[in-house]
Symmetry: D3
């Protein structure tokens, strides 16, 4: 068993805002991230697959296929976009890194033959989240 | 003579759009960077000063003073903001890296005792501009 | 369940030296890291929390609160300090990355509502440790 | 229990090619990575050990010993080499990152007192694999 | 006047070897870089243009045009190639970073309206060259 | 004419302190950098040479010779040392990056056949100085 990670980048803007709450509460919860005109990031996404190596190719998965999938499902969808306004599959979600990573999981997992293991989404070098899907994360004891 | 560089970062959104032109021309000129809701970056700014070292301190300039100035004049002004809508000193400019760097120069140079030598503004690891002020850049021959 | 990581940096000096041992043994154990006047690093600390996302905010934890805590408990305590001489909560410990990370855990874990999952402490790009607390690390089989 | 990681780098060339298959099938499987004259990378290897801290030294393992081992067993073996032609212990393997990491494990694990926990091999910033040995990887649920 | 830099990457192999010299002299001159099967790098190229900003667009040059040019003239030519064997415009040159940068200049300068100012070619984080064309480099005094 | 840069790293501690001044003045000038026990950095030094390419080798200078020189004159002298106490050629200087770079220049220039062009010394990613020697820096107009 091995893990293979491919990294992609996209530049997008977002605003942390829960449309179910009033303005004062939004400002209290999200501070400067609630700025009405939004702000932005050079997002970096590490997509990690887990599985067995094919003895014929020495690969977990055809990397070209993975690259094409991420280009189509992530980069073209999100690059140079506003995450709150331009992306139908993020509608109704507060666009925190936590929620965006979970939405990406829903989009990528069915297309990766059960091999998707982890998504790491960086908003910046200083901030990132790791998501292992609804079924769970590494067990520690 | 020595050069001293201090780096700061800010996360902002912008839209490349010239309000003097119609929509079709803007789209033609700026492509995906003209997306109406904008997009964003983790901008990085390298501020380079040039001058002589003070023999008492061994420093070109008090670094704490420089840090405080950049926090006040750059980071608080631009971090978590939309460059087109939230920054009075960028009004009326197309918010390309070239133009934003020139506007930063106007703001910083008068506060740095004639020592400001270069601004390098990264939109991403792949794209950056260097601006040496209106008086000119290094001479090559 | 999701993991959120926040990174902070501090510049400090240290000396690897066990005061319970004599000089010759210290030199043998620690080599150039035992240099009497010490040496230093730009340390980088990745603080990872683990837990459930709050549906109202889309966040694991208020990031501003986490940033303030790390500023107060890590950066102000260690930045521009000598780890052997200037930090009461490191007294009596050999200041290896392993021991410093464990001491940081004791300091941070009680302030993070049971959500602290991992500390990664880089001495340099080439050297780092991961600590998961006294209760254990991810189980592998 | 703690994890200690040491990073080393080497520059090498390789060609993805399975000698048991014909040329057309190799080209189909590996695309541009099958280029007959090969291509190359600045490989980066993160070697992670796991174990208990020695109370006398505050260290998981003597870092100098680990550095010397990696210099001898990895860097001198692979730096400025062609992985398909110059390395006896890679003969007969398709030189994917997955297979090279597994071969490194066989070489390093017996020399590290049962402490080797993970090898992360980067071909580039965008591509890397994690290998935890034949016995298994972190359990997720 | 402003400078705009765009960065591209490619993975290639090469061998330092002067075909006009015998094997012993080549080995003496180039050491491990003369390894017959070659070695490789993740090369990074920073292409810097210099000129005036177009007041209508706020740009030195259409960045999309520059990206397309670099993709066509650099990345497709060199990525996943052996610089000694697969690139007609490098034939007869020792493939040092110095010589490769000069060959890139000949290829790019005529396509960039006299705006090409500098090429910085990284073989690795530790090694790079800067080339300003045959007409000269910044004057220092 | 071309420029060749080689990067080296070293971990050291220092204290900003002018022994000709009293404690109160030192504290006023240097703030937290005047901490009596010092602090430290992972310093990075970029050494840039400038000159013509040797047509036989395609190189500005034998890179192996440059690497050996930097190992001997910089890394062995400064790595795991306290710049104020352990380095005879820094005695009597306030150990700011500005002064350390100038002292390095005096040490390296006579050993580099008149080819030394620039030293860039990073104290951290956020702070660095560029020094072009006593004769001068690039002319801008």
């Amino acid at each position: 068993m091995i893990e293979l990670t491919r990294q992609v980048e996209f530049s997008a803007s977002h605003r942390l805002h829960n449309t179910a709450l009033d303005e004062a509460r939004n400002l209290e919860l999200f501070g400067i991230c609630n700025n009405p005109h939004g702000h932005g990031h050079n997002y970096v996404l590490d997509v990690t697959l887990r599985g067995d190596v094919d003895p014929e190719t020495g690969m977990l998965l055809d990397l070209n296929r993975l690259c094409a999938l991420l280009e189509e499902q992530i980069v073209r969808q999100l690059d140079h976009k506003h995450l709150n306004h331009d992306v139908t599959w993020l509608e109704g979600r507060v666009t925190t890194a936590e929620n965006v990573a979970a939405a990406m999981w829903e989009r990528l997992a069915p297309r990766l033959d059960g091999k998707l293991y982890r998504l790491r989404l960086y908003e910046s070098r200083q901030n990132f989240v790791d998501y292992y899907g609804p079924a769970g994360a590494p067990v520690a004891r």
